[in-house]
Amino acid sequence: MKEQLIEITDLTKVYGSGDIAVHALRGISANVERGEFLAIMGPSGSGKSTLMNILGCLDRPTEGAYVLDGEDVSRLSKNKLASVRNRKIGFVFQSYNLLPRLSAAKNVMLPLLYNGHEPLPDKACYERAVAALESVGLGDRTHHRPNELSGGQQQRVAIARALVNSPSIILADEPTGNLDTQSSEEIIDLLHQLHDQGATIVMVTHEPGLADHAERVIFLRDGQIVSDRLNGVRRKGGKL
């Protein structure tokens, strides 16, 4: 029996109230095992972004429970949520979200600087950032600024940033949305590689081809799960 990393129960999210209330999530229950590679799919307005925000502790559910790594995070304060994000979640965004004036290494260091639990000295932070960049194949680009890197390289810096705090889970929101085919393949390969090393990955996408890389696909529509299936074959380092 594998360990459950994420347990969500009857999750609902309502924006506004009364007649104009929008029910973004209408009672979602699901579990994610440690080490799983999960894709969340759905048309726009299906609630997948809302679910992603709640999974990423950027938002709190209106009702329902969210247990992440044994900790109920559905009712935490803003400060506690920030700390959970810092320690347990690595974000990969569609548009990379690197700070343009900082070098790759300094961008990767950012999560370490906000780690209030076990703060590291500057030197150790830098070393870990360089190690993370090496693990995504950018060991020779540590001093480059984002505008000196290609889109694929920028996204790899962003993945290094997501990894640097050794999070419990990596949340990737359309990670290849801004990339050409070749760069997309590189990123997918990298995610597979991380997965093989034991990382738990939750990826939001609307591209079926991308979702095929995941072990399991959850399909959302109108704030509810309409399908939750396992992909038959687990592909290792496979191509699109």
Binding site: N53, G56, L58, D59, K78, N79, A82, S83, R85, N86, R87, F91, F93, N97, L99, R101, L102, L110, P111, L113, Y114, N115, G116, P119, R161, N165
Partner: protein
């Protein structure tokens, strides 16, 4: 995040746009600089006044006519049949009846042409005074003698020359015993004063001294109040005797003028009281200037708030990212608050340099006398810090309250 790391992040934020950061601090620079310069200027003015008054001599009691009491009309509070104001007789009465004094004197100045042989000096200060003048001003005769009471009583046309005037008219020759013409009147030179130089704004050496009564008769008698003495100077022996001298002078003049002791037609002043009066005026002036300068500091603070609000809007996405990576609202607030405080402190520092430099330059260039008020530096600097915190708090709180989801979505 630790304070030091937040500080570094904030510093990076400021250096991102150096020109804008500098322009933002300009308001604070001007405000702080203005506070320091304004206070230095008014302190300089005060010191200038004090110097001029102290230059009159030591432990002086000044007697001045006072028309403010007893209302308007003939006599104006004075005894019947007596002209208002102070007269030459009052000087004599004080000299005879008041004890504990070095001397009594009065001065009436007129500007006239002085001629000796073929040499003519235009626009020389002619000081009509009395025998007590050297004692009151602590200013001695170098050659010959000074004016005597007899000279005044008899309206003798005698003159004592200032050092420079004697030099210009007679060179190395002795001036005593020679005669000069002041306007169209011939005077006999009885003495030459020692060299004293310029004290306050009075050039002692460029003046000549003649009996007060001669000034009244020859130069000012036709004018309204021409025979009145504007000020009688009484020099007390020491600071301790001043009180006693003042009460004696009051008694003598009340008797002399035959006026109601409750509303005398004269008033007494000391140098200290004049300096105090002047100081209270310049202090009010200083406060006014400081407030005006303070307003520009506040305007500078509003400028900082304005730019910080722009900066928060521009960097919304960065704020969202930092929040996603684990920055707490507190971390974000501190980052932007530190930016604002650093802006105002850097502005404060440059303002202090500008203010001190400006005060120094005014003094050196001779534009006006300034005296740096030391307290104004921490005062202005502290005000800048407070303004940074006060006007930085709102933008920083706005940044801290951003919703990370909204912030990340912003382009």
């Amino acid at each position: 995040m630790s304070l030091w790391r937040t500080f570094k992040v904030a510093w990076e934020g400021l250096t991102l746009n150096k020109a804008r950061s500098f322009l933002t601090t300009l308001g604070v620079i001007i405000g702080v600089g203005a506070v320091i310069v304004m206070m230095a200027v008014s302190a300089g003015a005060e010191a200038e006044i004090a110097d001029q008054i102290n230059a009159l001599g030591a432990n002086l009691v000044m007697v001045m006519p006072s028309f403010s009491r007893g209302g308007f009309g003939p006599g104006m509070g004075a005894g019947v049949g007596r002209p208002p104001g102070l007269t030459y007789d009052d000087i004599a009465a004080i000299a005879q009846n008041v004890t504990g004094i070095n001397g009594v004197s009065a001065e009436q100045t007129t500007n006239q042409t002085v001629k000796a042989g073929s040499t003519t000096l235009e626009d020389v200060s002619i000081v009509g005074t009395t025998a007590g003048f050297p004692d009151v001003r602590d200013y001695r005769v170098a050659e010959g003698r000074f004016l005597t009471d007899e000279d005044n009583d008899r309206v003798n046309k005698v003159v004592v020359l200032g050092h420079d005037v004697a030099q210009e008219l007679f060179g190395e020759q002795s001036a005593v015993g020679q005669s000069i013409k002041i306007a169209s009147t011939k005077f006999t030179i009885v003495g030459v004063m020692e060299e004293k130089g310029v004290v306050g704004n009075t050039d002692y050496d460029g003046r000549v001294y003649i009996p007060l009564t001669v000034v009244f008769k020859k130069f000012t008698h036709a004018r309204f109040g021409g025979e009145n003495v504007r000020t009688i100077y009484v020099s007390a022996e020491s600071k301790e005797t001043m009180e006693r001298v003042m009460s004696q002078v009051t008694t003598v003049l009340i008797r002399q003028h035959d006026v109601d002791p409750a509303s005398p037609d004269f008033s007494l002043m000391t140098q200290d009281s004049i300096i105090d009066t002047a100081a209270s005026t310049t202090e009010a002036f200083r406060d006014l200037l400081a407030w005006v300068a303070g307003v520009s500091l506040v305007v500078g603070g509003i400028g900082i708030m304005n730019i910080m609000l722009v900066s928060v809007t521009e960097r919304t996405r960065e704020i969202g990212l930092r929040q996603a990576l684990g920055a707490r609202p507190h971390d974000v607030r501190l980052q932007f608050l530190l930016e604002a405080v650093m802006l105002s402190l850097i502005g404060g520092l440059m303002g202090v340099l500008a203010g001190v430099g400006g005060s120094y330059a005014f003094n050196e260039l001779g534009t006006m006398r300034t005296e740096l008020v030391t307290e104004s530096i921490p005062l202005a600097f502290g005000a800048a810090a407070v303004i940074g915190i006060f006007f930085g708090y709102y933008p920083a709180t706005k940044a801290a309250q951003l919703d990370p989801i909204e912030a990340l979505r912003r382009e």
